[in-house]
């Protein structure tokens, strides 16, 4: 019983973080896209439109919950839940600082990827159960895309795991503290740049973000797999999407950009502000995602499949082998 009680505050914190994150990210997305497009974004509701997302959430809550005729009832209701819950679970292993985590998992990285790979299941269920051809097309595209890119996503981070020797996200961050030659921070993005590039591309595919947002291609399929959803079910799917982008960006920051560490700042200053550093870096990553979203056109589904199967997987395998050989040669006794 006490285990459940002691586990409740972190879980509530995770839920709270997810909700706050959703609110902030929706506003940030609209503002960033607006400014990229020479316009202002929300300005009306609250000073500079800050209260806009709250108004939107209240609107979503007050909408009629429509269930179209002909949908597969249980799958239709369950699909948003299956999309949402893994996104929440993925927060569990993220290291906000040395000591601040939802829970300490030895297999944090594997757990996060495993949980995130449940989201495509929910997407397919959502598209299939809506009695709508466009939703079906969107769901099948998502199935092909998200399932295919799970492989390069994981393969590209294996070099990181090989060098660090552990799947624990905290260990990976700890490995990246300090500097080389007094100047260059020991971040993996500099050491393993191809891994980072492959990870970024696969991450964009997993998140269904432009340039890989075929499953919600607005100019073709209106809303893709989520077309037939309204009110809070749509809200859950939407929230899960933003939450995923936070998780993936946080993973990128953890794996490649040193997590909550900063290279030249002494420990005493760093430890209290570590969560802030972590969240700031994550949000910079999310800003880059939004920047890409506002600029690039959409990739066609067969080009995407080609890219994934014919280019990313062989490249990440080759890179993995190369890193393995180098690690064995350079540090035959194992890296710390």
């Amino acid at each position: 019983m006490s285990a459940v009680l002691s586990a409740t505050p972190p879980v509530l914190a995770a839920i709270g973080l997810m909700l706050v994150n959703g609110v902030v990210l929706i506003y940030m997305l609209r503002k960033v896209l607006g400014h990229l497009h020479l316009r202002l974004g929300p300005m009306h509701v609250g000073p500079k439109g800050i209260v806009q997302t709250t108004a939107d959430v209240l609107k979503l809550l007050s909408k009629e919950d429509i269930k179209p005729n002909g949908v597969d009832r249980w799958m239709y209701v369950l699909a948003p839940v299956i999309v949402f819950v893994p996104s929440l679970m993925a927060y569990a292993a993220l290291p906000f600082s040395e000591t601040l985590r939802i829970t300490r998992l030895d297999t944090g990285l594997l757990y996060t990827f495993a949980v995130l790979s449940l989201v495509p299941l929910g997407v397919i269920m959502a598209g299939w159960s809506s009695a709508n051809k466009y939703a079906l097309i969107g769901a099948l595209r998502a199935a092909a895309q998200q399932v295919a890119y799970e492989v390069p996503l994981l393969l590209s981070v294996l070099p990181v795991v090989m060098i660090v020797g552990s799947l624990d996200l905290g260990e990976i961050v700890a490995f990246q503290t300090g500097v080389w030659m007094g100047v260059v921070p020991r971040w993996f993005v500099l050491l393993l740049l191809p891994s980072f590039v492959i990870f970024m591309i696969s991450a964009l595919c997993e998140l269904n973000q432009t340039p890989f947002d075929m499953s919600e291609a607005e100019s073709e399929l209106v809303s893709g797999f989520a077309t037939e959803y309204s009110s809070m079910k749509f809200g859950l799917i939407f929230l899960s999407e933003f939450s995923n982008s936070f998780v993936i960006s946080a993973l990128a920051v953890t794996l490649f950009f040193g997590g909550w560490t900063l290279p030249f700042v002494p420990e005493s200053i760093l430890v209290p502000i570590a969560p802030i550093v972590f969240v700031t870096k994550t949000y910079i990553g999310i800003f880059v995602f939004m920047w890409i979203r506002g600029t690039l056109p959409r990739v066609r589904i067969d080009h995407l499949m080609n890219l994934g199967w014919k280019w990313l997987i062989p490249t990440s395998l080759a890179w993995l082998m190369l890193v393995g050989v180098v690690v064995k040669l350079v540090a035959p006794g194992g890296v710390g």
Partner: protein, 168 residues
């Protein structure tokens, strides 16, 4: 290098983002319309505040969509009284042909573009109602009065008298 175009594109959007937005915060800020802008038709008035319209019906004939309609009563002294000069702004396409057709500059294309109404019945309203039409002669001072074919031809100017005077 593959990907160079993508990176250039991203630099372009960032550059545009830093240039700042170009939008106008309507309705708090409104742009000024150029002089020739054509929006709702409005009647014009002379210095004493009387409408310049003489009820000549040129605009009624000029309108392609038959939006204008003028009800006029003529008194015994040939002066006209405009009962109702109705204008269907809901159907008007602001082509300006009525204003071009008016010989008296009695209507103009105003700059009023905030024309939305809640009740569709309000989209047909009267430009002028229950006013006296301006007399045609007064409003056209520059035009030559046309010779009436019933009258005899005007007298030849008194040149012979001048010559006679010079001869004297």
């Amino acid at each position: 290098m593959w990907g160079k175009g993508i990176i250039t594109g991203m630099r372009i959007t960032m550059r545009n983002m830093l240039r700042g937005p170009i939008t106008v915060k309507y309705p708090y800020e409104k742009l000024e319309l150029p002089e020739r802008a054509r929006w709702a038709v409005a009647p014009t008035y002379d210095e004493e505040g009387r409408p310049k319209c003489t009820a000549c019906m040129a605009c009624i004939r000029a309108c392609p969509d038959h939006i204008l309609d003028l009800e006029v009563t003529t008194r015994e002294d040939k002066s006209k009284h405009i009962e109702h000069y109705s204008y269907e702004i809901g159907a008007c396409m602001m082509c300006g042909l009525c204003v071009e057709a008016c010989p008296f500059d009695a209507i103009e294309m105003s700059h009023d573009y905030e024309l939305a109404r809640i009740d569709p019945a309000e989209l047909t309203y009267a430009l002028l109602a229950h006013v006296d039409a301006a007399p045609a002669k007064r409003a056209r001072p520059a035009a030559e009065p046309k010779p009436d074919p019933a009258e005899p031809a005007p007298a030849v100017p008194a040149e012979p008298a001048g010559e006679e005077a010079a001869d004297e």
